[in-house]
């Protein structure tokens, strides 16, 4: 994308060229109108295409025709909107054709064969990074420009060389060799490739400054085009891989989809089932549930006594409420356990004593490790009979016993008892999250101006007062960020439980059944995908509410000095 600077003397010729472009564009768009209409017709006539495919492609092609037609109209009127529309259509067409060509050339599916050969290129990939690293070591030669230049060149040379070898090692030549053969193989590839070229050329032509001048494009126009252009890869991918599935998932939650047969639309039934509760008074606190609840529909969820009157709560889907309870318990314990120690450690680390970087590094270690691997390690640590955690407790108890404090060894059955299983998972999760939160807090602490502490010291504030009156309020935004992200993470706890609980992820007496785990069981074990989608949306609303609450609190506390 070179910038065409307008030279007054050559202006006529460049204007001529621009006019030529416009004529070409008119023809091209007229062609697109015809092609779009014809394409839509053909698609609609297609016998073996599904209805939704007809609808999607039909609408796309009609849209192409419509926008192209409008563009022609505006281009002839020399309105800036014509150029914008033309650019939009051609750009989208270009992307579509490009992705289509890549698909035709098996570039996406072909990643598999890259995976086949990738291992051979690994050493060279590493070498590329070594080269890059070397090239960035210029600050070691502060002031010596020549030396800096040399370092940069050597680094770049290494990286480029390694890159070339890497490409050959993973089979660049073989990949290139397939392109001509793919072209010969079928006409689709050729169509897609030529469409890519045409659309691309039209975008390029319309983008030119002389063309823009003809339309008297303003800075705002240019900014808008640039804005959409820059956002487009992100936005399109986002729409295809996020927003589309999201809407689909909302729809699925209103159906009885079971992945195998045609889903029926059932409205809010899934949500009704989730929230179907029944509260009944009890004659006595230990009356049998079957006497008051309709046991063909409800299971006993809980019972409680208030003002001497006992009540029982029945739920149609008891497991959902169990899962919800477990998840909330997890959040309520895991979040403080990973945030408060982190705040404490960050304050310790914030002092200017040597060795702090070492400790900071160590605390951060668990955050870089895969949850799956971590859970496997902890599974063995938690083993009640031969595991290290109970062994450690036994050692401590023995120590107390020898100094005359008689304590009995609790022999905690971490993962096999309903009372402790969830706690075990919480401890592991908190252990993994502490380091990360510590580093975030440390960042927040280092942003607090020293002068504030100095002023506080002059005013005679004790360290404790300083912490409560200076540190904590000024850490507000960081705390908000840390707590919010940790809560969101904690609400979605799944992998930890799924791995550490082994063959029975729901744990003893369903004590580690979390919402996401329940959703997985419903959606991918029982294949009640409609119901599972409904659970997913309930979870989303919960997370949304939790975030909103924190956001409100953060806002009302109004302690942020940063913005």
């Amino acid at each position: 994308m070179t910038t065409a600077t307008v030279d007054p003397q050559k202006a006529p010729s460049s204007e001529d060229r621009a006019a030529l472009w416009l004529r070409l564009a008119t023809i091209w768009h007229a062609f697109l109108v015809v092609a779009g209409l014809a394409g839509a017709f053909i698609v609609w006539q297609g016998a073996d295409t599904a209805v939704w495919q007809k609808a999607v492609f039909g609408v796309l092609l009609l849209g192409l025709a419509g926008v192209s037609g409008t563009a022609v109209f505006h281009i002839n009127q020399r309105r800036s909107r014509g150029r914008n529309l033309s650019l939009a259509v051609n750009y989208l067409g270009f992307l579509f054709a490009l992705v289509g060509s890549m698909h035709q050339l098996n570039m996406f599916v072909g990643l598999d064969s890259l995976a086949d050969t990738f291992a051979r290129g690994l050493p060279f990939l590493a070498l590329i990074f070594v080269g890059l690293w070397l090239g960035s070591q210029t600050e070691r030669f502060e002031g010596d420009l020549i030396r800096q230049q040399q370092v940069r060149q050597v680094g770049r040379a290494i990286a480029i060389l390694a890159g070339i070898i890497f490409l050959f090692a993973v089979g660049l030549l073989d990949g290139l060799a397939t392109v001509p053969s793919a072209l010969l193989e079928g006409w689709e590839t050729a169509v897609f490739l030529s469409a890519t070229v045409f659309f691309g050329l039209m975008v390029w032509g319309m983008w030119q400054q002389p063309v823009a001048d003809i339309f008297r494009a303003t800075n705002a126009d240019s900014e808008m085009l640039n804005g959409y252009l820059f956002l487009s890869p992100n936005l399109l991918g986002f729409l295809i891989f996020f927003a589309g599935p999201l809407i689909l998932s909302l729809y699925v939650s209103f159906t009885d989809s079971d992945a195998f047969s045609t889903p029926n639309f059932i409205g809010l039934e899934n949500y009704a089932e989730i929230f179907n509760l029944d509260l009944e008074p009890l004659a006595s606190a230990d009356q049998l549930a079957s006497e008051v609840l309709d046991v063909t529909q409800y299971d006993e969820l809980n019972r409680f006594t208030i003002f001497g009157q006992s009540y029982i709560i029945g739920a149609q889907d008891r497991l959902f409420w169990t899962a919800l309870g477990n998840t909330l318990q997890f959040v309520l314990l895991a979040v403080p356990l990973s945030v408060i120690p982190a705040l404490f450690l960050a304050n310790l680390l914030n002092s200017k004593v040597p060795g702090m970087r070492f400790f900071r590094a160590i605390y951060f270690l668990p955050s870089v490790a895969a949850v799956v691997g971590i859970a496997l390690v902890w599974q063995w640590l938690y083993n009640a009979t031969i595991g290290y955690i109970n062994y450690g407790i036994t050692l401590v108890i023995d120590l107390f016993n020898t100094i005359g404090l008689p304590l009995t060894d609790p022999q905690i059955r971490w993962l096999s008892e309903g009372n402790t299983a969830l706690l075990a998972v919480i401890i592991m999760a908190a252990w993994q999250w502490i380091g990360f939160n510590t580093v975030l807090f440390l960042a927040g602490l280092q942003n607090i101006p020293r002068a504030l502490y100095e002023a506080a010291t002059v005013d005679g504030a004790t360290p404790r007062q300083q912490f409560w009156k200076v540190t904590l309020p000024l850490l507000g935004p960081t705390t908000f960020f840390v707590v919010t992200t940790t809560v969101i993470q904690a609400m979605q706890v799944f992998e930890q439980v799924f791995i550490i609980m082994g063959t029975n992820p729901a744990g003893p007496s369903n004590s580690t059944l979390t919402i996401v785990l329940y959703l997985y069981q419903k959606g991918f074990q029982r294949f009640e995908q409609g119901y599972a989608s409904a659970i997913a949306w309930v979870l989303f609303l919960l997370i949304f509410a939790a975030t909103l609450v924190q956001f409100q609190r953060q806002r009302t506390s109004g302690s942020s000095y940063e913005s």
């Binding site: 990643l111 999201l246 004593v353 060795g355 160590i362 490790a369 063995w380 799944f494």
Partner: protein, 405 residues
Amino acid sequence: MIRSYKAIQYTRNGLVYLVLTVFAFFMIFPFLYMLTTSFKEPKDTFRYPPRLLPRETLTTEMPGFDEPLPLYYGEVNGEQRELALVESNIRIGVFVDPANPGVELQLPLDNAEPKGGFTNTEQVVVNGEEVPVYLVTSEGQTQELALLSQTALGRFVDPNDPSVEILQNVRLSQPVEELTARPENYTDVIELQNMDRSLSNTILVTVLVVFGTLTTSVLGGYAFARLNFPGRNNLFVFYLGTIMIPFVVLVTPMYQLMVTIGWVDKVASLVIPWIFSAYGTFLMRQFFITIPKEIEEAALIDGANRLQILMRIFLPASTPALATLTTFTFLYAWNSFFWPLVVINTGNVDNHVLTLSLNVLRGRASDSPNLILAGAAIAILPPMIIYILGQRFFVESATSSGVKG
């Protein structure tokens, strides 16, 4: 006064170091355990009390025995010696003289027979309980003794002096051990679960996802931060909102999408959908917004286009944000599990990533923690090594990340 201030300072620092060290120990221990166990022999993995370092029981060859014999410590005449276990499970009776029930004798049952035969054994009352009477031969003498209970002992012999022989409980004996290491666990696990292939796949996926995410996030973040276009603010709010949407909401429709475009079981399904990150876009936007507008305007007047501005001005200034995003994306891509679990066939080991291999491994090797933890080490160590090498980059990036919400 000054001295006492210094003393307080020293104790304070000492305390701080103590607390930090204790925490550091808890942070590091699981990794230590993982590493040491991954070098253990299968028979060394199940033992109580547990021992951190991998050990191997020493054995010795002795004439008359085909197999090497394990060595244990035993006390001979008040002296600790290394003895070979030549025979285990020798059935032993615990006898007392009915006349003198205070002294218990442990004697081999082979040298004893019940008085009156097995079916009609004579009984005697000792300490209020009826127990059988045996005729026990010991050192050439036969005694009438009451059998209290039975147990089993092992016969231990000094390999250097076979005449020295003792009987003692094998289970409670201390084996003679030396430190050892079994790196074969790693080769075994690589063979068992194709971990080398999963490793290279994971690197490939991670590299592609990181660069893809960086590219789209930088472009998108710049557009949101600096370019005015209709619908920008609404789009941005939409992006922000989606950060809160849990991935599980999308699993089902995403899987169906992958089926439609034929990416099920393909590496592409692990890469392409993940390079469009709302979080990354948000992060970059937050950072770009802090860069002064004046520089950019000057460049525009000089005729630079937007891409040039982005490349020449914004990127070099955003190393911390880029590092943060790289870190997050790297960890996310390397450690992701749920999506690969759903989208990659368990049978197709050629497209497994490490977390997936680990998940299969934990079932296939459920009785060999040494193998499972070797597998875990293969998955955990590479990011850890990268982290240690680039510690400054990682942590300082997280420190200076856009935690300014």
